[in-house]
């Protein structure tokens, strides 16, 4: 725990668990930020184009903050090196965030399901015994609240307040995205240690909160969440196994960086 200038030394095991946990959070944020930024200039209406791009920028900022914690407290490389020089297998993001932007209905549903999970995760982390993370959770609270507000308003507009076509398209995107979204909560190896150390209560606890929240939002929006029993969660991302889409995205994202890795910006 880092309060002021005192540093608590963690056991190697706990330290590894916490590092892996931070990488999972930051990789998810960075990859979805890049994906959402792909809508810049292509959004359905000008106002939404700007909003979606701005949200993507916020998310990129959040990942930068988490990579900075890894750099400052665990001696990992600086955030740019972490972001731009790793290969696909070093990433532990879930499959949900890697998929191409697809149809706007898919991007919107992904935005809702991911951001709601992020909001609930950071709410839990506000009380984490790992103070740098608790501090960050309190700092970004307002931004994430706005992201969820944006997502919920759109989903409700296209669902309960939309027409037959918009509702059908969002529902179909929801059916497709739900098993992928469950991949957010893929258990990690060190989860038990994090729980014992009061750093994070666990992915199972988060998933339960998320299911409750998402069900109530979708009810209001006139949409239905598929049953948990009917789907197989898409796992693998947390272990470094990814879809065919992640590496091409990383190659594209790092193209400019690789021209001159030592350039000053």
């Amino acid at each position: 725990m880092d309060k002021g200038h005192t540093i608590t030394i963690y056991s190697n095991q706990l330290s590894a668990a916490l590092k892996a946990f931070l990488y999972r959070i930051a990789d998810d944020q960075m990859v979805i930020a890049h994906r959402n930024s792909e809508w810049t200039g292509l959004g359905p209406i000008l106002e939404e184009d700007i909003a979606f791009s701005s949200i993507a920028q916020d998310k990129m900022g959040h990942s930068h903050a988490v990579y900075s914690i890894l750099h400052e407290h665990f001696g990992e490389a600086d955030p740019d090196t972490i972001a731009f020089t790793r290969d696909e297998k070093d990433f532990t993001c879930c499959h949900l965030v890697e998929l191409p932007i697809g149809d706007y209905s898919f991007s919107l549903v992904r935005h809702l399901l991911f951001d709601l999970a992020e909001q609930l995760r950071f709410e839990m982390l506000e009380n984490s015994s790992f103070e740098p993370l608790a501090k960050l959770a309190r700092k970004v609270k307002g931004e994430i609240k706005y992201h969820v507000f944006h997502a919920v308003t759109w989903i409700t507009q296209l669902g309960a307040k939309g027409n037959e076509e918009s509702k059908a398209r969002v529902q179909s995107a929801l059916n497709e995205t739900f098993p992928l979204a469950l991949g957010i909560f893929e258990p990690g190896d060190g989860d038990e240690e994090l729980k014992v150390a009061s750093i994070f209560e666990g992915e199972d606890v988060l998933q339960k909160k998320w299911l409750e929240a998402v069900t109530s939002i979708l009810n209001e929006a006139g949409l239905t969440l598929p049953s948990l029993n009917d789907v197989e969660p898409v796992y693998g991302g947390r272990k470094g196994y990814h879809t065919e889409y992640l590496q091409p995205m990383l190659t594209e994202m790092t193209e400019v960086f690789r021209i001159d890795a030592s350039a000053e910006w």
């Binding site: 209406i45 700007i50 308003t153 759109w154 409700t156």
Partner: protein, 129 residues
């Protein structure tokens, strides 16, 4: 042949390069417009800052937060459908004109600043003398 762009996202869309016929947009093809009012500090008057397109009042508020709330300090934002705002038309703007000899009714006719300065000067003179 598809359009090959420097922007990889455009290339990925696989848009045919041949000339295509597009339906021209109809007038008012966009969503309804909303007027946006921005409040910088609690207690300030909300100030009209512009307008935007949105499919509903709720989304107008979301959009307004982004378009008008992100570049400066903001504590509140109001949105109103443009159609809800009534105004005197330009042709009738002459109803605002008053005859020159009645300028005492205009707020600017009462020069508080000058009187206040004169009074302060007088006060100073009294205390010094």
């Amino acid at each position: 042949m598809i359009i090959k762009s420097l922007d990889p996202r455009i290339t990925r869309l696989e848009i045919p390069a041949e000339d295509q016929q597009f339906e021209p947009l109809q007038p008012m093809d966009q969503h309804e417009t909303y007027e946006v009012f921005h409040q910088e500090k609690r207690g300030d008057q909300p100030i009209h800052v512009g307008s935007l397109h949105a499919p509903s009042t709720e989304l107008a508020l979301v959009m307004a937060k982004e378009q008008y709330g992100r570049r400066s300090r903001t504590v509140a934002i109001w949105v109103v459908p443009t159609s809800a705002i009534m105004t005197i038309s330009v042709e009738d703007a002459d109803i605002f004109e008053t005859t020159p000899e009645k300028d005492y009714r205009e707020a600017k006719g009462y020069r508080v600043g000058t009187k206040l300065k004169a009074w302060k000067k007088q006060q100073e003179a009294t205390s010094n003398g």
